[in-house]
Amino acid sequence: MKAFGYQLPAMSSLIIWGLLWELVGQLELTFFLPALSEIFITLSEIIGTKPFIKALTETGQAFFLGTFYAVTIGIPLGILMGKNRFIDELLLPWVNVFLSAPLTALVPVLMVLFGFGLKAIVITTSLFAIWIIILNARAGVKQINPALVEMAHSFGASPMDAFFKIYFWAALPEILSGVRIGFIRAVKGVIIGQLLISIVGFGALFELYSSQFLMSHFWAVLLVLFTLAFSISEFLAMLERKVEYYASKR
């Protein structure tokens, strides 16, 4: 970031907003926004406690199961749609419908279908993440250089070889950015699931803290959630940069 011609140190924007937050909090303008320092103190108090660890485990478990299914189903399905015209025309309308559908409104239906436990939460999480993963994998395959497919065919590649050695790698830059966006959506999905289906995990903490107006607790959990989501997203962005060297030259 630059201001008045000076190069500012990294994360300057975070520092500026953090200071502003602290200032507004100290002024005690609204109970909704406690001072940042107060939030960190609360965070340090609750972070080691049993209920917090339990919530983190519950949310983490649902999140990783949900994204696991979204990735292992979404990527192959997206590649298949990109490869096969028939499958593509069959499924694309549904993928687009669910991409823009208000999935939160579907959660009660999922509860009826899959009960009030982990299963329904995992499915909700998957549903938030999977559609963009499918669409990106599909887009990655669509832009593949047809000569590569022809080359593999001419050297006798089996369909499995072509899938794993050509399509997957050629589409990898798009697949990774789809997975990154999907994971961010899954964070939303898991919390919504834990708020609406059964009050467990971080969803339960949010519910508890906001109903008791414990705003510094509420913000502390939100900061933890943000940090986790940001770390996952940055990790995937790093993987994306690793394949960048060929992304523009396929």
């Binding site: 590569l148 001419s154 006798g156 790698w169």
Partner: protein
Amino acid sequence: MNAISTSSKAVEVRNVFKNYGEVEALQDLSLDFPRGELTSLLGPSGCGKTTLLKIIAGLLPADSGEVMVNGETVTGPGPDRAFVFQDFALLPWASVIRNVAFGLELRGVGKSEREAIAEKYIADVGLDGFELKFPHQLSGGMRQRVGLARALSVDAQVLLMDEPFSAVDEQTRRKFQEDLLNLVKHENKTFLFVTHSIEEAVYVSDQIALLLPRPSRVSEIIRPSGFRDKGIDSIRRDSEYLDIVDRIWDSLRTYVE
């Protein structure tokens, strides 16, 4: 080896028809490719020369007619043929050595064995020391050398080359043409070479099949005979070379828009 595969024809094309919808690409095309020689398919753009090459490769089906390689009818790609692509078709995420060994990898050859073979051909095409580079770090000419090494490393008897030098600069192209002549001389392989350059076809070919378009048929087969053994430096000054270039241009000029 049986009697057929030692015959003088490596590839035979018999009465091949191919339409793209309404457009007739190839009509009743028949052509023989002598073993151990380089045959060029030469013609204006849209004459179906690449279509014919891809049918021989087994990448495209013919509507009717038959293609035989070593006496066996072509139904798809096979280990007896290897293809060199116009735009190289290298895996951008793989190193030079993996690209060169990719044909062998698809055929299930073990890693150490295929890399040993790949290393030999990388050296043969003059890319020694570039094994671990990636395609985007190479020039166009070097990329095509990788494509050539990949095709050579599967040791197919027939090499199919689809305008392999059209995407490289003029000087690299001349060097390639000289290297190709050496390759034909020293590798006991049959080369099928698609080009739209008259000079290139006459320079490198033992036999030139002149294709005329709409729909494609073989209009003439020319076999340069006099200058092939005189040494590569004097070919372009040879009077037979110049006569053939002029003769081909006379046949083609009416088809150039």
